[in-house]
């Protein structure tokens, strides 16, 4: 069976700098793949390439067996691959409600209507339901710029999930989130994801989070895939220990896996 999303020898250079090289990764439906790697290892570059924000220098990206190289983010989105961002990409001067309404509005119409109002009884109800699902309905009238990081991240992911993607790429979902809130956030997200059955790839620095939620782990180093496999196996990989996680940072991941 071919994978849902698959990259073949994907590479990207910025001038003389190689940001990614020879990346072969695949994601299947229902899988939750964690991605680790130090800063500059090529994780975000990878997500940017898959979603069409950056064009790869060489290599191929197959989604359901078809190449999606050369498509722009809009087309990739519509095909069924959505993403969240390391820094939540929202409309900061607008309220949470407006953010969601706009998201629905832009998503539902290819040609945006000019005469029909965006905010109707139905669309507001729809927005409220979405926010309820992510447990942030109390922030509805607030301006996004006043929200705590965690809520922004959740809203960002919620917007990514609007289109019910088949593949979801999460770029450091817990970065900037208070330590006490990270599991709550991840639980909420994973609940929504499992309901949809999407394949998930998530970049994360926090090993606890990785260990608790991922079903497979990929380690990036210097723009290449260092290791790819079951979580425990990758964590035990000597090279990963040396170059990515670092010996001194060893944690009791086995306990975390058990817990999950």
């Amino acid at each position: 069976m071919s994978a849902l999303l698959e990259t073949r020898s994907l590479a990207r250079n910025f001038g003389a700098v190689t940001a990614a090289a020879d990346i072969d990764v695949s994601i299947n439906a229902g899988e939750i793949v964690g991605v680790i790697g130090s800063n500059g290892a090529g994780k975000t570059t990878f997500i940017n390439m898959v979603t069409g924000y950056l064009q790869p220098s060489s290599g191929d990206i197959l989604f359901k067996g078809k190449s999606i190289v050369g498509k722009n983010p809009r087309q990739v989105m519509r095909a069924g691959i959505c993403r969240s961002f390391q820094v939540a990409q929202l409309f900061p001067e607008l309220t949470v409600l407006d953010n969601v309404l706009i998201a629905y509005g832009l998503m539902q119409h290819r040609v945006l209507p000019m005469f029909r109002p965006l905010a109707t009884g139905n669309s507001i109800k729809q927005a409220e339901n979405l926010l309820q699902e992510y447990g942030i309905e109390s922030y509805l009238p607030e301006k996004v710029m006043t929200l705590p990081q965690g809520v922004r991240k959740l809203l960002d992911i919620a917007l990514a999930m609007l289109r019910e993607p088949e593949v979801l790429l999460l770029d450091e979902p817990t970065s900037g989130v208070a330590i006490d809130d990270k599991f709550d956030l991840m639980d909420t997200v994973m609940q929504a994801v499992r309901k949809s059955g999407a394949g998930v790839l998530f970049v994360e620095h926090d090993m606890e989070v990785i260990a608790r939620y991922s079903t497979r782990l990929i380690a990036f180093y210097d723009g290449r895939v260092l290791a790819d496999g079951p979580v425990a196996e990758v964590m035990d990989n000597e090279k990963v220990k040396e170059l990515v996680t670092g010996h001194h940072l060893e944690i009791d991941y086995k306990r975390e896996v058990a817990h999950a």
């Binding site: 975000t44 940017n48 924000y53 961002f85 390391q86 820094v87 990409q89």
Partner: protein, 298 residues
């Protein structure tokens, strides 16, 4: 040959003039992110104070070479005075507003200063042509050029060098570069950004006034001269890349040479050439030639 020399000389002289005007504008934009329309007024104030001071001076029967010092002095005093007044009195309470709002603020200042100039100097023309004619002229390939204009090339080069040296070889300049690069981080690192703003604005205003006072000897100084140069200066800095002194130099050279080529080869195009060049540059380099990079992380 005659034509080529004339074209080059005219282009470079015009470029020098443009650069002196544009340097202050681009410096202020780089540091403060204010596209200062009142720069035209600084130019006009410099021209008026230069012309009237030279008039006073020569009427007193002092040695004529001193008139050049008068031009310089008038520019520094009037530019610094107006610069401090406007920065302290008005801009300081406006910092942090949207860039477009700041353009309108400086437009309002321009409107006010235009009438203030009229109240101080009236509407009659002022002349200070003695410094212009005093230096004589030089013949190149059969065409005479005013030595004053040739001297302007060296003045522009000196200003360019001084700005480069000031920004790259002095402590204050390096701090200023830090502000240009990233205002927030610079403030976080303990650089007194407000003080930097004041210094920059005054330097910019003095440069604007200097452009005016150096131009005064060759023209008839009268109402409205400031408004005419703003758009020219804008075009130059946009072509060069907003906020870049090197860019302003390149922009001035491109506009100067293009304009002189048009005048000599196809005079009908004179009015379009500046906008044509601007359009062409922007079409291929949307941020101008030397844009200050602003990376966006997602």
């Amino acid at each position: 040959m005659k034509l080529v020399i004339a074209m080059l000389m005219d282009g470079v002289i015009y470029a020098s003039w443009l650069f002196i005007i544009a340097a202050g504008l681009t410096l202020i934009y780089g540091v403060m992110r204010i596209l200062n329309m009142a720069h035209g007024s600084f130019y006009a104030i410099g021209a008026y104070s230069g012309a009237s001071l030279v008039g006073f001076y020569l009427a007193g029967g002092y040695p004529p070479w001193g008139a050049y010092l008068m031009l310089l002095g008038a520019a520094i005093v009037s530019g610094a005075l107006v610069g401090i007044l406007i920065e302290r009195g008005l801009l300081r309470i406006m910092y942090g507003r949207d860039e477009v709002v700041m353009i309108l603020v400086t437009y309002a200042i321009l409107l006010i200063l235009e009438d203030v100039i009229k109240l101080i100097w009236g509407v009659d023309a002022y002349f200070a042509y003695q410094p212009y004619t005093l230096l004589g002229r030089t013949k190149m390939a059969g065409i005479s050029f005013a030595n004053y204009d040739i001297a302007l090339i060296f003045v522009a080069a000196s200003i360019c060098f001084l700005l480069w040296w000031g920004l790259n070889r002095t402590r204050q300049g390096k701090l200023l570069q830090a502000v240009i690069h990233d205002r927030d981080t610079a403030a976080f690192l303990g650089i007194n950004v407000t003080k930097m703003f004041s210094i920059t604005f005054v330097i910019g205003a003095v440069l604007g006034a200097l452009a005016g006072s150096l131009t005064a000897p060759g023209i008839s100084v009268m109402p409205g001269i400031g408004v005419e140069v703003i758009i020219l200066a804008f075009a130059v800095v946009v072509i060069g890349g907003l906020g870049s002194v090197g860019g302003a130099l390149m922009g001035a050279l491109i506009v100067g040479l293009a304009r002189s080529a048009a005048v000599h080869l196809y005079p009908e195009a004179e009015l379009f050439v500046i906008y044509g060049v601007m359009g062409l540059v922007l079409a291929f380099r949307p941020q101008g030639l030397f844009a200050i990079a602003t990376a966006r992380k997602i």
